[in-house]
């Protein structure tokens, strides 16, 4: 089976998932992102003309403010024309199918789609459908993947820890429903992190998760011991209705990240979160705002990483 993300020359054609990409491509994106960070950091030109004359369509079938905004900023800094479409469920309720919507946008001469959709596989479906000169970036599909989030997490880890091959990383929370977790796991294992842990109650872990190459922990104290990086996940409120958890209070008590639990990790461990945070549910405010938190730098790096992804795709033949 051909990898739908790569073209015949092995270059990145679409970014749909961090799974199945060679580490070379991941490192190229991270390297490129760091040039954009340097550029912005020196306070020089914020804007580069790499996507000049190109149209980027942010097509969000699922609501999001933060991710859409960072993509918009990234595209604008690359001098692209940006069109934002919050489709939500309005179009589908009018009877238009996903691919009809995409066809219409293609007819408006889109060069790149940034797509978020509530269903796993939506970005793959679109990528398979569009003409070969159009690029698709998955900005989150169901529980499946959120590759740019994972890449900005990798960028942040590399920024603070320099190397991947000597790290212990723990991902904490609702792995079952999380596209972020899946993309993080694939990115971490591809980049050579020797030990990736997941920490969650059994109701929030998919079956056979260990086959993704992770060690499974149900106990925070054991799982956090001696880790270098703690990746927290957002807990959706609806998990309480689905009988996955009894209460937010109990979840916080056993799986919420507090200073006390964080003390079990290495002294220089960093704490990350994809946002938006539920303070007091998965993370205590003192940790979120504490010295080990790199949650805000994540957001800053997110723009550079998305610029790197877009410019990489635009460079692909």
């Amino acid at each position: 089976m051909n990898n739908p993300q790569l073209n015949k020359q092995g270059e990145l054609q679409h970014l749909l998932s961090t799974e199945g990409l060679p580490s070379r491509i991941l490192y190229d994106i991270l390297d490129r992102a760091s040039t954009f960070v340097d550029l912005a950091g020196r306070g020089e030109i914020k804007k580069v003309p790499l996507l000049h004359g190109k149209s980027v369509f942010n097509v969000f079938f699922e609501n999001s403010t933060r991710t859409r905004t960072t993509f918009e900023i990234a595209a604008k800094r690359l001098s692209a024309d940006v069109v934002n479409l919050n489709i939500g469920s309005s179009s589908t309720s009018k009877g238009e199918t996903l691919l009809d919507t995409v066809d219409n946008l293609c007819a408006m001469h889109a060069d790149m789609f940034v797509v978020r959709h509530a269903q796993s596989g939506a970005a793959h479906l679109i990528a398979k459908h569009v003409a070969p000169e159009i690029h698709v970036i998955n900005a989150g599909d169901g529980r499946h993947a959120h590759p740019t989030q994972a890449l900005l997490d990798m960028f942040t880890i590399r920024h603070y820890k320099k190397e991947f091959h000597n790290l212990r990383v723990a991902i904490v929370g609702d792995i079952l429903h999380s596209r972020v977790a899946r993309s993080q796991i694939h990115a971490l294992t591809t980049l050579g992190v020797p030990e990736v842990r997941v920490i969650a109650p059994k109701t929030l872990l998919p079956s056979h998760v260990e086959q993704l190459g992770v060690r499974v922990f149900h106990d925070m104290a054991q799982g956090l011991r001696d880790v270098d990086v703690v990746l927290m996940l957002r807990l959706q409120n609806e998990r309480m209705q689905g009988a996955a958890l009894p209460s937010a209070q109990e979840y916080f008590k056993y799986y919420g990240l507090t200073q006390e639990k964080l003390a079990l990790a290495k002294a220089d461990a960093i704490v990350m979160h994809p946002g938006p945070m539920n303070r007091g549910i998965e993370i205590d405010s003192s940790v979120a705002d504490g010295a080990q938190s790199v949650i805000l730098p994540q957001v800053t790096f997110g723009i550079a990483v998305r610029m790197a992804v877009m410019s990489t795709l635009a460079g692909a033949k």
Partner: protein, 429 residues
């Protein structure tokens, strides 16, 4: 019409025949096998040199989509597909719109099918009104109208008391009850096997215990009620083990599997191939292997196409939203032959699972070529290879996981009641 089929290899599992024999047909029945009876004058001769002659296939699950879903398929399109696949009898599940829960609907379906004079249609009636799992249908009336068994198709029946009553009532009249085991709570929102692939792709999953828990309830109620229970579309190794035990314990049940599930596994979903969105879900390779062993041992009695034509638009959606189902009528024979070849079975042992055994489950006199039997015959070229292509399929449903794959074994002629109802276009061998 008097027809003679000469020079072919006759394979008839029920009568344990596998030899070069000529067949002579008159008035819709098998008149003689081997030598032409004195005075027999053939009006039509089929030269079957290099071809195999078998009883017409009997498919235990073929959705014709009428009434109600004519945009997916029509009786005309699907009946043509059936005979093109060598199928001469088929059972259709009751999940039409409305469901087959009224004698009038059943009579209409039988009438429409008869008017097409192609394959014989055996409707399976709804076990409960509207397949809602609440009130029993008028099973005796439905049987008089032509229903051969009663089923919930893929609709849940969660109320175990209703299920027990339904079985008791069916048992009163000796009717068969056909059920697909799946606990609807455990399977809720699920679209793929709860395994490695669903975990990787982030697809809502259906665990194996959804099958085994429902199966345990069904087997226990069959013991209690003495109903003639047929288990449809088994999907898991654990399910096979339970059926094996139940049969060993003397419970008179039968069981089928879909052709998709003996050839495919969750791995075939690949990158969200919605053609592999099937009911039940494709499970892992160990499950597939166990289904094959179960078939071989006779734990599973029959193979069906589980033909479920879906319109193209309904498949052009993200995996979970795409409608489940695949076309199958024209692939049943080659996929059974493929299984035979891979499992080192004789053609006779393999096709028993789609002829004689299926007839026994349906409780009809068919699926064999005995003297005096209805001349429902399939004649195929065992060496002919062909590629599955959407445009070439007669079925209105064009979606199947086997698109683009090479098949071996092509139907040349299909006869129903001694009438040639299908003849392949390129007949030059």
């Amino acid at each position: 019409m008097n027809i003679q089929i000469l020079n072919g290899r006759l394979i008839d599992p029920k009568n344990e025949v596998d030899a070069a024999k000529d067949i002579f047909i008159t008035a819709g029945k098998i008149l003689a096998i081997g030598k032409a009876p004195a005075g027999f004058v053939a009006e039509k001769t089929i030269d079957a040199a290099g071809l195999v002659i078998i009883p017409g296939l009997i498919d235990l699950a073929a959705r014709l989509r009428e009434p109600g879903y004519e945009y997916k398929a029509t009786l005309e399109s699907e009946m043509s597909a059936a005979v093109a696949g060598g199928i001469t009898s088929l059972a259709c599940p009751p999940d039409t719109e409305p469901a087959l829960d009224e004698p009038g609907l059943v009579e209409m379906l039988k009438h429409r099918a008869r008017a097409l004079s192609q394959a014989k249609v055996y409707p399976v009636g709804a076990l409960t009104y509207g397949l809602k799992g609440v009130e029993l249908t008028e099973m005796a009336e439905l049987a008089d109208a032509g229903c051969v068994a009663f089923s919930q198709a893929d609709a849940p029946l969660t109320d175990t008391r209703v299920l027990m009553r339904a079985m008791q009532y069916a048992a009163t009249f000796g009717f068969g009850v056909w059920l697909r085991p799946q606990d609807s709570f455990l399977a809720r929102d699920g679209v793929a096997h709860d395994g490695e692939v669903a975990t990787r792709l982030g697809l809502p999953a259906i665990p194996v215990c959804a099958e085994t828990i429902a199966l345990a309830i069904m087997l226990q109620l069959a013991r209690e009620t003495g109903v003639r229970l047929h288990i449809c579309r088994l999907s898991s190794a654990a399910g096979v083990a339970m059926i094996r035990e139940a049969k060993k314990g003397g419970l008179a049940i039968t069981c089928d599997v879909s052709m998709n599930h003996i050839h495919l596994s969750e791995m075939d979903i690949g990158y969200f191939d919605s053609n592999c969105h099937l009911i039940p879900p494709l499970r892992n390779q160990r499950d597939r292997d166990a289904l094959r062993v179960g078939l071989h041992e006779g734990v599973i009695d029959a193979i069906c196409s589980n033909h479920s034509p879906v319109d193209e638009d309904a498949k052009q959606l993200p995996f979970a939203e795409a409608e489940a189902g695949a076309t199958g009528l024209e692939l049943l024979l080659p996929l059974v032959l493929k299984w035979a070849q891979q499992g080192k079975l004789t053609i006779s042992d393999a096709i028993a699972k789609v002829t004689h055994n299926s007839a026994q489950i349906l409780n009809i006199d068919a699926g064999h070529l005995s003297l005096g039997a209805a001349a429902d015959v399939c004649i195929f070229d065992p060496a002919s290879c062909w590629k599955v292509e959407a445009a070439a399929l007669m079925s209105q449903g064009k979606n199947t996981p086997f698109l683009g794959m090479e098949m071996q074994g092509k139907v040349r002629y299909t006869l129903v009641h001694g009438q040639i109802v299908y003849q392949a276009m390129q007949n030059n061998k």
